[in-house]
Symmetry: C2
């Protein structure tokens, strides 16, 4: 069901002819009564639809999202294609232009195929349906091998979502689209602004991939201030909503990692005990993004040195003597040192090899007793990644 699982949303898709494959390439998601919030890439070379969506979210309350796949409409200059496309969609939907957010994904630098998009809009609006979530999820795919969808329900509040994106080599949202819907009555100010420091825990934490205990406490406190209660008996179940959104977000993070170009393993790197969450995050990302850790994951090689090397190069200060590393439940470094027996203990190596060969490889590092902890996901780096990204323009 994806984004149409929550009540009030309709979605649909058509083939406008922008993809060489001839698969559906234009999607529309709409709820005339909704509010919206968004988080965007920090990449300076952001596409026109990102700049326009950011502005429309800041100044109004968008009701619809128009997504094309095939062209990213990035580095295309001041053509105004995103303005034109959303203006046409707004007319067809009976909305104001500023109520339609544009999203584009595909080849950078190639202009939108605007006449084809325009011609396809009437059929797209006709296709809108409360059952259209799957069609929408498929229309936003590019190199994805499967569509990514998730739903959650807590105390009658529904949350739905879909995503496109693969590869996960440090994308920082730049190659992903994620849409999350809910029928909880949340006002826009409660949703996060496009600012990592802003209020609105639910979406921010979902983007971070984690709703931790600390967050649950804050959400509960927030709900008490609203006159509700932390145990879900209030009129507005903020903590439960945050949990449902986080669960959908977690699923939508995991699916692109698992569908990464040619990947056969997902890397889940957790770092605990850092001085600050940002430090833990930087270390976890450094390990998950390391080409040498990724190739070790591809080869099923439980190589402690590559993990230590990546952690040490993260640009974060920590006491190496406090660095413990585990692959699954096998400790491969203690106090920054690989146990002397590690390379000689065949049974231990075999156990570690099994963990490194698992579909989900859990790497865990503790770096002290600080409060900072974080997690990063990645995938292995395979022959298929080279084939997909070396042989085609993407």
């Amino acid at each position: 069901m994806s984004v149409t699982f929550p009540r009030g949303f309709r979605a649909g898709s058509v083939t406008a002819g922008s993809k060489p494959s001839g698969l559906p390439d234009l999607g529309l998601l709409v709820d005339p009564g909704t509010t919206a919030a968004g988080v965007f890439t920090t990449n300076l070379v952001s596409a026109a639809p990102i700049r326009l969506s950011r502005a429309r979210l800041a100044s109004g309350s968008p009701r619809a999202v128009l997504v094309n796949s095939g062209q990213a409409n990035a580095a295309t200059g001041a053509r105004g294609d995103a303005l034109t496309a959303t203006a046409s969609a707004a007319v067809a939907l009976g909305l104001a232009s500023a109520e339609v957010l544009p999203c584009s994904t595909g080849v950078i630098g190639e202009p939108l195929h605007l006449p084809e998009l325009d011609a396809a809009l009437p059929a797209l609006v006709d296709a809108l349906s409360t059952e259209g979530g799957e069609d929408f999820a498929r229309a936003i795919m590019t190199t994805d091998s499967v569509d990514k969808r998730a739903t959650g329900e807590v105390d009658g509040i529904r949350v739905g979502g879909c995503a496109k994106g693969v590869g996960m080599i440090a994308p920082n949202l730049a190659t992903m689209l994620v849409f999350v819907t809910t029928d909880a009555a949340v006002s826009a100010p409660d949703l996060p602004a496009d600012d990592p420091g802003a209020a609105g825990p639910a979406v921010q934490r979902a983007v971070g991939g984690r709703l931790d205990e600390h967050e649950r406490h804050r959400a509960a406190a927030r709900e008490r201030r609203r006159g509700g209660s932390a145990d879900g008996t209030g009129s507005f179940v903020w903590a439960r909503l945050a949990e449902a959104v986080a669960s959908v977000g977690e699923s939508l993070l995991r699916q692109p990692a698992a569908d990464a170009e040619g990947a056969s393993h997902v890397l889940i790197v957790e770092v605990e005990g850092a001085d600050a969450e940002a430090d833990a995050r930087a270390m976890a990302k450094a390990v998950a993004d390391s080409p040498l850790v990724k190739t070790a994951a591809f080869g099923g090689d439980p190589n402690p040195g590559r993990i230590l090397q990546a952690a040490g190069a993260a640009g974060v200060g920590f006491d190496v003597g406090s660095l413990d590393v585990f692959i699954g439940d096998v400790q491969v470094a203690e106090g920054g040192v690989v146990p002397p027996s590690y390379f000689e203990d065949d049974a231990l190596i075999e156990k570690a090899r099994a963990q490194m060969g698992a579909p989900e490889i859990a790497i865990r590092a503790t770096v002290g007793d600080g409060p900072g902890r974080s997690r990063a996901m990645g995938c292995d780096l395979s022959y298929e990644y080279i084939r997909i990204n070396g042989e085609y323009t993407t």
Copy 2:
């Protein structure tokens, strides 16, 4: 000739049995009258020999370098193996222990094969020769397919060097060893300390891969203060030495990039016009290290979007409207925009494709009119990289 090209140095190698291949794995370089300086990785998880070499350079004047290949002696704890190995070598050479610098390269976490190293030392000292530079360069190799050597001579001053290292995916020296020798009479304080901000332009600039005009002026000024002259007629030809060292350094940077695991293309990314050199450096590295740029280089795909994406994600502030990008002499972005004709002009695309298929791919970006410029080298990311790093413990 490598490191023994300058007068006074002797070098040699033996097979101590630490490499599965049975190739030479222990090298020694010595000049009892020399002074020394060094620059080391900033990785926090640094190996024992790095910590010991750093300390010995800070407090004394080392005369010899003992290098083993096969084990990195990293993350091996407080075993004291580097102390023991250099103490044995010092006895054999008639030097103090503190005059011998240890270097190790190979598998992380595996202890040194100390008894084998010890047993091999007498033969190693016997092998020392003024013709031993090539043997030394080969003994320090790990996954290198060729040894890397360079020499330079300016006004009778000789500079020699050798290096080991491949891959070049953001190594930041952590997987490289580079040795540069000279018979110029340079006192240790003129050589750089292990501090990027410290004096001593020659080696620092060689590590940076570039001796720019600004540096030449500074070196000439320095020489004038010494009573020499900028045109090389003084008793101490500092500017000329700096130039020779930079030329050897440049060659020793280029060879590991060209010999990267499975690489068939070297990427040379130049960024100009940034606010500061550090900004230019970060952008150049972000492009050269981008897996998507690397796979595009492997496939010979002149993909402007991947270069723009990597530059925009470098974490450096710049005006996207001032961003021009060239692949060779083909402009693929102007003011942050891919020329609208780019994807339609077959002749232009073919020209760009030829540049992207060259053995050395030159990517150049200007980001404004600031003074910051820098350069980074990298290589393409190929099937062979996956094979080498995925199928073996390295």
